[in-house]
Symmetry: C3
Subunit: 344 residues, 3 copies
Amino acid sequence: MGNEFPLSDLAVRIGARVVGDGDAVVSGIAPIEEAGPGQVTFLANPKYLRFARESNAAAIIAREVVSGGRTNFLLADNPYFAFACAVEAFHPTGRLAPGVSDRAAVDPSARVGKGVTVSPFVSVGEGAEIGDNTVLFPGVSVGKGVIIGADCLIYPNVVIYHGTRVGSRVILHAGCVIGSDGFGFAPTPEGYRKIPQVGTVEIEDDVEIGANTTIDRATLGVTRVCRGTKLDNLVQVAHNVVIGSGTVIAAQAGISGSTRIGSRVMIGGQAGLAGHLEVEDGIMLGAKCGVPDSLRASDSRVWSGIPAMPHPTWLRMASLLPKLPELFRRVKRLEEGKNPKGEK
Amino acid sequence: MGNEFPLSDLAVRIGARVVGDGDAVVSGIAPIEEAGPGQVTFLANPKYLRFARESNAAAIIAREVVSGGRTNFLLADNPYFAFACAVEAFHPTGRLAPGVSDRAAVDPSARVGKGVTVSPFVSVGEGAEIGDNTVLFPGVSVGKGVIIGADCLIYPNVVIYHGTRVGSRVILHAGCVIGSDGFGFAPTPEGYRKIPQVGTVEIEDDVEIGANTTIDRATLGVTRVCRGTKLDNLVQVAHNVVIGSGTVIAAQAGISGSTRIGSRVMIGGQAGLAGHLEVEDGIMLGAKCGVPDSLRASDSRVWSGIPAMPHPTWLRMASLLPKLPELFRRVKRLEEGKNPKGEK
Amino acid sequence: MGNEFPLSDLAVRIGARVVGDGDAVVSGIAPIEEAGPGQVTFLANPKYLRFARESNAAAIIAREVVSGGRTNFLLADNPYFAFACAVEAFHPTGRLAPGVSDRAAVDPSARVGKGVTVSPFVSVGEGAEIGDNTVLFPGVSVGKGVIIGADCLIYPNVVIYHGTRVGSRVILHAGCVIGSDGFGFAPTPEGYRKIPQVGTVEIEDDVEIGANTTIDRATLGVTRVCRGTKLDNLVQVAHNVVIGSGTVIAAQAGISGSTRIGSRVMIGGQAGLAGHLEVEDGIMLGAKCGVPDSLRASDSRVWSGIPAMPHPTWLRMASLLPKLPELFRRVKRLEEGKNPKGEK
């Protein structure tokens, strides 16, 4: 905070073009309904056009000049990306000082890279490896043989079970659990017998995982989250699931065992997928949908509902559900030989 | 425990009126199906009238005398409230001894109030402030610049990210995470670019938040939970959400980004709300409902279903769903020119 | 790892019968699509028959010989159970060394059994008892008066509130919370008044509880999870719930207050149950179902849908939902006096 730029400098940093006064000085960034003089804001959602017109902000990041607007503009093809860069310009990342706290418990056989922060109350198990510049916040538990790459942020109280591999530039939010046992039991006359879960988990580079999300280790083999995929909070990923790269999963969604999610898939909040399915690349799943079968992009790119159906079908179906009582009455009248049109 | 009162004393403490023997001594409180001699119980749900009639408890807290009951009564306009007071009377709150454990890691720049308990393995970051008489249980992580009010209970392993503000008399249950990054990414040809989440969270006075619930910080600005609101376990509150005062949210519900929930709203378990919505004051949302649009109290006070519809409509619709196969058959017969009534 | 057996020895260990070469040496176990020479695999799901036929594995655990298969077989009546035993044979359980870390905080009044592991950053409260050979991983918080049996595994950052009882051979996965306050508030004109939650939780022998699952203490009395029951990750169990023995609950399911679940019940992922219900022994609930009323096995063994209905009804209903728009059109035509069959 405290950074200040002429608009023309900011434009260079965020890959935008100034329309208006490039010498105007900007010192902060704020949402469009709140931004005032000296602040930059951005317009991504047309819903907020009204605010853009009335804004006294120093500049608005947008795709094109808003007609009726009375301020400067920073035009970018991808305004949301330019916004991300602007936020970074005004909020350079702080970080914890590197070093291993004498209140941490690091096994002597563990290897800790250069510039690593090991906070108080962190435990690092036998043979674990922590890559350069990775930050372990307080209370993180790193199991035996875990390998973590460079430049990761592991927030407080994250638990990484033994044998898990985590790539570089991975962000794990507080309380998430990686590598807990998969849910597998063999029924026997004497009750359930636990199937030992002896596989592992691999989290590839540039993945971000939300707070209190849980990812189970494989029974045998690997549960995998591929490069650049982002999981929100409280998501459940069961044993032996594979999630492709560049996929986004919203909060409280759940994926059952051995299901394979493609790349660039988008899964809405509270969606649920049965086990042993395949969801092809690029598919979008609506919030709260329930997926009992594998989904092909050639059948539909977007799916919604319980059970999941192509989104356009779901939209029509959903709009008719409240009219179901009326439909039952209409059919009853037809059965009684009445002409409902004539009666109304 | 171990407290004993004559019924007349207990009546004064809980704001009730004795019908029966005020000198009867009571020494504990129990559920209506279990309460025996010397114990007080309460009747809030008419479903349990049968137990009230047969009860041997020393007294029953209720709105009115139960006809056929054979015991004493403590009558109150708000029996559930009187019950709450009675539980307190028999179970005075213990608390951990105040003091800062030498196994905690408190930054020298942090300010810790009078009578505060800082348990072992608690970390308190640079510039944080902990108000008087607040209790931090073991393993709590308080980030840089966090401000916590007085008389709070922060249970084990809670994580409060940097910059969060927590009011007074707030209860945070174990494992909840306040202030994790909102889920925001700008798509680019090279994959998702993280939008830095530089806003914060404010939890106002008298809020209670359940175990393992997650509340994300705002992208810019503030995610806010207003005074007296209660969240159950495993709830997800996304970035920039605002929840009014006196609102109650049951377990596993989820609220997407920038949605504004009014005051005195009640949200059922596993309900889900899309982003950028408004839910007006006093609205009730049924368990498991899915809310894609803003809701006005003038349209309906109670909403249910996926997508959410007025509750009376949903009740009729839901009762007809299992009859849908039959309806298809009936329509087919009509199309075939058969008179189904005549055939049956 | 590194264990090797002739097939005939392995057969004895897992209670199976060799068909083929009992002298073949096996040194590992792998999924059926990956297993190669020297490895054992298993066939439980007929979906994978193809892989069984083509497999080069040293042996396949199965119920019967797969026709067309070219390898050895280990035949067992319960192949999944035999598989569990085989996994154990190849992966003998390691464990942390016993002992109480000098970085743990164990109250002097607590009793710690023989062979117990108390890891760094574990806190054990006043009067708590830890049974023989139980392992407490780093960051576990054991409240005042908690009693834990023998041979338990309590993974990192688990929180067990005061007064909870945990049986023997219980496994609690990372981040789960046992004994947090039930969600109970009495509405008053001044806002909600907390009902003190003075009951407790009992977890019986041989229970396993998933990562970040939450189980609330009773208001009065006990929240109970009976012997041999298994809960997956992120499950919510509210106050005063009773779950019978040998029951299985998949991830993200939620059970509201005072509901009683029978024994040998199976509950699918993301299912939700209202409060004060009874679900009889042996009932199965489909994923994502919503249960508003008590369920009797005599009405149906399997229930699905929102609201829950007998599974066969749900299957028919669900297959017709996408055809609802068409049904509305068909009824309209009938009302208009058109004969749809004739027109097509």
